[in-house]
Amino acid sequence: MSKKIEILNPVGEVKVKEREMAPRPRNLRDLNLGLLDNSKHNADHFLTRAGQRLAEKFGLGEIVPWKKVGPAVPVSPEGKKELSRCHLLLIAFGD
């Protein structure tokens, strides 16, 4: 039988506290929809169109678009404040 050696695991532990998703509404009517644009090309077209179609179907409240200043940077505090008045949030992620 081959001799064994103990080596240490280099992987960092992820301590995750599982969180519950926000409850979903029964009805989308009059709800405010946030559109978080990651500023990649076409994210704005996609989100705007999705917002328009959802508004047509359900009679949403306010549509609140927010574009990040760049794709690889976090949402600014101003963006978070602006989007906080939404009930629904659609986020564009990736290319």
């Binding site: 081959s2 080596i7 280099p10 992820v14 090309h41 076409n42 629904l88």
Partner: protein
């Protein structure tokens, strides 16, 4: 608020890991084919129609049902790419492997824990020797490393430093570098997860750079010095194994670059005619610091035949305006490395670093004819302050202010300089210090302060 993520399928593994790290593995990720960026407006609208029902489902179905459904969904990108094993549980603190270098390396490689090169097996004994060079407790948390937000404890950092081949005396630098990367303005999440070829560039200044024999001369960005090679490598292994920067998953770099193996230099302070980088940043000259910034690959600049400083500087400014470079689209800072010969030519002509910055700033601007309309729209979104009008013509600035150009002197003999575009990241400089923040005067301070 009820959230749904529209995610191109290539990025869905990253999206899923982010959702997991945030405690919501069942967050609805509505996948669309990658890429969306190249589609016409009509095709984008058709894409919206194709997923509209799923968006409505994500917004209006009971959250428990959504969580079960999206947690179970098999997220695979549409195209096959070479992906290593994903984030294996960190719960196994110790692993038993057949005691042979080949077996250990095969094991680590198959788990995706390496950079592709053989590693030094991180035994308890080697890690304990590494930990002698810190006065911090081994379970002290230095930083959470994105995009996986793994816990970068002193011990885990030491394990990865051993694997990289670091000497124990390098540990204080690695710890300070990890702290620097975790500062918000470094933008570690962006640097890790971008499609751009961003890598943390490490610059050492001060007496400790010399004590640790960090190369600042010939071939400074290349191979040959253990300190440069292994400290830079340790950073990469930390980002992979603690942060989850696995290529194609957490690390989305389309092409990568060689600096992702190791990207560590020291400034050639002895041959610089000016104050070094850390002094410009407000640190005492006799202090030892580490500076980190997310950078693309270095771009060599030659100006053969130039005999005047202005000629060389014009060439440098010209190189910085190369179409498609990261600074034009992203910035915010630019990084210029002057060889000692170029530095002395400029100093003898009376240029201070401030005057060099001003010269480059004035020259490093690109006419709109070099860009497509789409390019200019993107730059307007990402760097609105970088578009100016001069003489009725639109120009894009490489940097928005002269002080955004950082200059240091490095390298050996030879008339070369280089420009390293920066990617959505700002330089962070920190003391290499003891736990209480006291800047260390020598690497020996850690040995005496550490545990015996």
């Amino acid at each position: 608020m009820a959230t749904a993520i529209i995610c191109t399928d290539e990025f869905a593994p990253l999206g899923r890991e982010e959702a997991r790290a945030l405690g919501m593995p069942g967050l609805p990720i509505v996948q669309v084919p990658h890429p969306v960026t190249h589609l016409s407006k009509d095709k984008v609208e058709a894409l919206v129609e194709s997923v509209l029902e799923e968006i409505v489902h994500a917004f209006s179905s009971p959250k428990e049902e959504l969580a079960r459904e999206y947690k179970k969904r098999d997220i695979k990108p549409a195209r096959v790419f070479k992906a290593k094993a994903l984030f294996v549980s960190a719960k196994e603190e110790r692993i038993e492997v057949v005691d042979s270098l080949d077996a250990i390396n095969n094991f680590f490689y198959s788990r995706g824990w390496t950079d592709g090169l053989p590693i030094v097996p991180p035994t308890e004994e080697r890690v304990a020797r590494m930990l002698q060079y810190t006065d911090r407790e081994s379970e002290e948390l230095i930083a959470l490393i994105p995009p996986r937000w793994g816990r970068g404890t002193v011990r885990k950092i030491a394990i990865n430093a051993v694997m990289a081949g670091c000497l124990p005396s390098y540990l204080p630098v690695i710890l300070a570098a990890t702290q620097a990367m975790s500062e918000e303005r470094f933008n570690l999440f962006g640097v890790q997860a971008t499609t751009n070829p961003a890598a943390p560039l490490m610059v050492l200044n001060g007496p400790m750079a010399r004590e640790l024999n960090v190369n600042s001369g010939y071939n400074v960005f290349g191979q040959g010095w253990r300190s440069n090679a292994t400290m830079g490598r340790a950073i990469r292994l930390i980002l992979t194994n603690i942060g989850g920067g696995t290529p194609g998953v957490g690390d989305r770099s389309t092409l990568g670059q060689p600096g992702k193996y190791s990207y560590c230099i020291a400034e050639n302070e002895e041959q610089s005619p000016w104050d070094p980088l850390h002094v410009e940043k407000g640190f005492p000259k006799d202090s030892s610091t580490v500076t980190m910034v997310g950078a693309a690959g270095p771009h060599n600049i030659i100006s053969s035949g130039s005999t005047r400083a202005e000629e060389v500087l014009s060439t440098i400014a010209g190189a910085m305006t190369a179409a498609g470079n990261n600074n034009l689209f992203m910035g915010p800072e630019a990084f210029v490395v002057l060889s000692p010969e170029h530095a002395h030519l400029m100093a003898q002509a009376g240029f201070s670093k401030g005057e060099i910055r001003k010269f480059i700033f004035e020259k490093a601007r690109v006419g709109e004819e070099k860009f497509s309309q789409g390019n200019l729209e993107t730059i307007r979104k990402w760097r609105p302050g970088a578009i100016v009008v001069e003489g009725g013509e639109i120009r894009v600035l490489v940097v928005e202010r002269p002080e955004d150009i950082w200059i240091l002197v490095a390298g050996g003999a030879g008339a070369h300089s280089l420009f390293t575009p920066i990617f959505f990241s700002k330089m962070v400089t920190r003391f290499i210090s003891l736990k209480d923040g006291t800047p260390a005067k020598s690497i020996k301070d850690f040995r005496s302060a550490g545990r015996s």
